[in-house]
């Protein structure tokens, strides 16, 4: 990545920034938040592009398969604790889970043979992306 530094003498200097330096410039919380919002975005900005590509493909694919299997995006109803926890877990996928909910996807078809499989894919895709966000936090804070 090249950063632009304006100089006092009226010219512009471009400096090449290594992945390690970039990791130090991206705050850990920002890395985790971006990784949550779009799977792989945190790792991409931290210079781990191959990992980012895997996350960008695999996690949304699991989420879409879950919707295709008639899974349900549960509402945040903690009077039924397991349903509430499932709601939190599935929202771990980030913005796409919120958009899917707004567009009316994820209503769930209880009578479908694949309903429980769909729920499992939705929930686990969210949980995996939460792990990805934690990993981005660790990378940005220099622990990995």
């Amino acid at each position: 990545m090249r950063l632009r530094f304006p100089q006092a003498l009226g010219y512009t200097r471009f400096v090449t920034v290594s992945a390690a330096t970039r990791a130090q410039t991206l705050p850990p919380l920002a890395a985790a938040a971006l990784a949550w919002a779009v799977p792989g975005l945190g790792h991409f900005l931290l210079g781990k592009r191959q990992k980012a590509l895997v996350f960008l493909v695999a996690i949304p694919a699991m989420f879409v398969i879950g919707l295709g299997l008639s899974g349900r995006l549960f509402p945040f109803d903690f009077s039924q604790p397991l349903a509430g926890l499932a709601a939190v877990a599935a929202r771990g996928v980030g913005v796409s889970s919120l958009v899917a909910g707004w567009l009316g996807y994820g209503q769930g078809v209880v009578t479908a043979a694949s309903y429980e499989y769909g729920n499992t894919f939705l929930i686990v895709s969210g949980l995996l992306n939460m792990l990805v966000a934690l990993d981005a936090f660790d990378v940005a804070s220099g622990r990995k």
């Binding site: 990992k51 996350f55 299997l69 792990l131 990805v132």
Partner: protein
């Protein structure tokens, strides 16, 4: 696809892929770890399936 085995294999593949990518940086180590997770999921599913086969409910 609503095949139990097919969905199990698909699920195991994605979980193994993401877990291995998170936990290791070296491609060879990622492959070994991912293969262990994938095999564990599929193997455990098959073994538990056969163990439950005689159950009447």
């Amino acid at each position: 696809m609503t095949s139990h085995l097919g969905l199990l294999v698909l699920f195991a593949f994605f979980v193994a892929l993401v877990s291995a990518t998170i936990s290791h940086d070296d491609p060879a180590a990622q492959f070994r770890f991912g293969a262990r997770i994938f095999g564990g999921f599929v193997g455990a599913g098959l073994v538990l399936g056969w163990l439950m086969y005689p159950l009447p409910f």
